[in-house]
């Protein structure tokens, strides 16, 4: 059988990308499996209610619905419209607190 020694093996590029999870994914998965993510979500929910963020989002939703009319808005619409505003208005203190918690988790999980 003739083969070219110099010919490199066909790269399984696509397959590789699917198989190799990024660091972010690994951390995320570890956190979900250990239940830490759920705890952090609870903490986040609490903080966002406390600082009035949730109320502000509610108000934004109401304003949007009022503008468009109750029958012309779907949940998907709202999610698409509100998400960027929501992400942008998270207080820094909350971000910091969560990052510290994640860091602590990483240390304890020896990643």
């Amino acid at each position: 059988m003739r083969n070219s020694v110099n010919r490199p093996p066909t790269p399984d590029a696509v397959e590789d990308q699917e198989k190799e999870p990024t660091l972010q994914e690994i951390i995320n998965i570890k956190m979900i499996e250990s239940g830490e993510k759920e705890k952090l979500m609870e903490l986040l929910r609490e903080r966002l209610v406390e600082c009035g963020w949730k109320d502000e989002m509610k108000a934004l939703c109401r304003a949007y619905i009022k503008k468009k009319g109750t029958n012309n808005v779907t949940v998907d619409d709202l999610v698409h419209v509100i998400t960027p505003k929501g992400r942008a208005s998270i207080p820094d203190s909350i971000k910091t607190e969560l990052l510290l918690r994640i860091r602590a988790f990483l240390a304890s999980a020896a990643l």
Partner: protein, 553 residues
């Protein structure tokens, strides 16, 4: 759509949900029930038995909203639900895994089905500890609310003609009946202001005017003792006589002093304290005169019949979800001012600095604050019956039963026992003239704990009116030690300022801008009925402390 209790009318299912129900009935829901995981905080999510994290079957993603198909249990993310529906015909209805909420793929929107919510709620109830939970599935009982309202109307309808005939021929002003200045007897504006409000509380007023208080046969008076109820009756008669010259409620003041000896002095007193004290006096007088209270435990003195409601307090254990519920009566509700301050820092993109607080306090904000779940501090750990130990817990207040007349007291006087000083909070608070108390009822508050569920909770009183109209505002100006109370009355679509002996008609803007201390709201029906009874008369040529109004009536 804007029916009175629109919260209780379930939204109609979309075509696709209706189709699904026809074909599959409740089987999909029932299978799902086992996979629902609930938390003590009221959240429910779908977690199947796989140890792996749920992923979209198309893109393997796990970070977007994930939806579980009710028919084949395959999971798609929000971007791929439509794809799934296209691949499998009829797979249109899914469940949001995180929230246990129904979603129609073709409508791209959340949909509601009471049957589904019932199954979710049943799971909650199964998971909650046995010995007591904040939720009862008993059918909403038709409470005595209907009866109370009817008896209130009776107070109204009886002998309205008698009211009209009480008109004194001397009275010729254009003001409604029952509007009369009250002389200040020495820092008694606190009393005058509250009396003006009581004079126009519909069922209260009618009780005294329709002769239900028969003071001729009052035993106390016949033995020459003071009777607060009789004195109030005399007071009402005098004010509604039609005579417009300012009246001196000296007898009433003296009678009240006898009852509340600790408050008897010529010093300025607190109007709210006076209000509570007077109601208490009426209750005491009434209780002795009447037959024993029936088994319902409700008192039938006029003070309770008009002003008393019931508060519900829920304390929930954060570990297991066990909720301890208690009910307490109230004659009024004292509210803290909502200042818009939060424990953590202000929102990132707000340009306001903490010192630059332009947040306006509102009555609805105060009521929200009152019914907000409150985390009890670590020094107030609640002993959970279920866990058998002290746990962190959350407390939430709500209104179980509304009174006929709702008195809301704004806490403007702050006392610091440690520093031994007190101060007054002058902060402006905006208040509405029409108030719907629905969101603050126990049924609404408890319902909200479990998310957006179409489910009838205990005591959902579908025939109860929650709409109130304002009829009196007691305002305070000045400092803690030296201030002045003024009452604004809302009669027949006109506002009147009652400043001791001086009564003037004012524009509603004046009232809106005032610094309210006590707000009096009456059930809408009672308010409008009461206003019909007030009769207007032609203009008076007499000089009296009223400023003449051109073109009234």
């Amino acid at each position: 759509m804007m029916s009175r209790n629109s919260m209780y009318t379930n939204p109609k299912p979309c075509k696709h949900l209706a189709d699904y129900k026809l074909r599959h009935g409740l089987s999909g829901y029932n299978l799902l029930q086992e996979q629902i995981r609930t938390t003590p905080s009221g959240k429910s999510s779908v977690k199947n038995h796989q140890t792996e994290i749920p992923r979209c079957c198309f893109c393997n993603g796990y970070q977007k909203r994930l939806y579980l198909c009710l028919i084949c249990s395959s999971i798609s993310c929000s971007s791929h639900t439509l794809l799934h529906s296209q691949c499998e015909n009829g797979h249109d209805i899914a469940v949001d895994i995180e929230r246990s909420e129904l979603y129609c793929v073709l409508c791209c929107d959340q949909v509601y089905d009471p049957d589904f919510d019932k199954i979710v709620m049943l799971k909650h109830l199964m998971d909650l500890p046995r010995s007591g939970n904040g939720v009862d599935v008993s059918a909403g009982r038709r409470s005595s609310k209907r009866r109370r309202l009817c008896s209130a109307l009776e107070l109204d309808l009886k002998k309205t003609k008698q009211l009209v005939s009480m008109r004194d021929l001397r009275a010729k002003s254009c003001y409604p009946l029952g509007l009369r200045g009250l002389n200040n007897l020495g820092s008694t504006c606190f009393m005058n202001s509250v009396l003006q409000a009581l004079l126009h509380a519909p069922p209260f007023r009618n009780y005294f005017l329709t002769g239900q208080r028969n003071h001729e046969v009052c035993r106390k008076r016949s033995s020459d003792r003071l009777c607060l109820l009789c004195d109030i009756y005399v007071f009402f008669s005098a004010v509604f006589s039609g005579d417009r010259t300012p009246y001196s409620p000296a007898q009433l003041l003296y009678s009240w002093w006898q009852h509340s000896a600790n408050l008897a002095s010529y010093e300025q007193q607190d109007a709210h304290e006076f209000f509570i004290s007077v109601l208490d006096g009426i209750h005491e007088n009434g209780v002795k005169a009447r037959s024993p209270i029936k088994d319902t435990g409700e008192c039938h003195c006029v003070a309770h019949r008009v002003f008393s409601g019931q508060l519900r307090s829920d304390v929930t254990c954060m570990s297991c979800g066990y909720t301890s519920t208690t009910y307490d009566p109230f004659m009024d509700i004292s509210l803290n001012l909502d200042t818009g301050n939060c424990p953590s820092t202000d929102l990132a993109n707000k340009s306001l600095k903490p010192s630059d607080n332009t947040y306006v306090s509102t009555l609805l904000g105060c009521l929200d604050l009152f019914t907000k779940p409150e985390k009890l501090g670590s020094d107030q750990k609640f002993f959970c019956e279920n866990c058998q130990e002290r746990q962190d817990s959350v407390k939430q207040m709500s209104i179980k039963r509304l009174p006929l007349v709702l008195c809301l007291h704004i806490k403007r006087f702050e006392h610091f026992p440690v520093r031994r000083m007190s101060r007054k909070i002058d902060r402006y608070m905006q208040f509405p003239f029409c108030l719907d108390m629905n969101p603050y009822l126990s049924s609404s508050v408890v319902r909200n704990r479990f998310g957006n569920r179409m489910f009838a909770f205990e005591g959902d009183e579908l025939d109860t009116s929650t709409e109130f109209e304002i009829f009196a505002v007691v305002t305070h100006s000045g400092t803690l030690d030296s201030g002045h109370y003024v009452t604004y009355l809302h009669l027949k679509d006109q506002w009147y300022k009652c400043d001791d002996a001086w009564i003037t008609a004012v524009e509603e803007e004046v009232v809106r801008a005032s610094q309210c201390y006590m707000l009096f709201y009456a059930q809408k029906m009672l308010y409008y009925k009461a206003n019909e009874d007030l009769v207007c008369q032609p203009v008076s040529p007499r000089a009296d402390p009223f400023l003449p109004i051109a073109g009234c009536c």
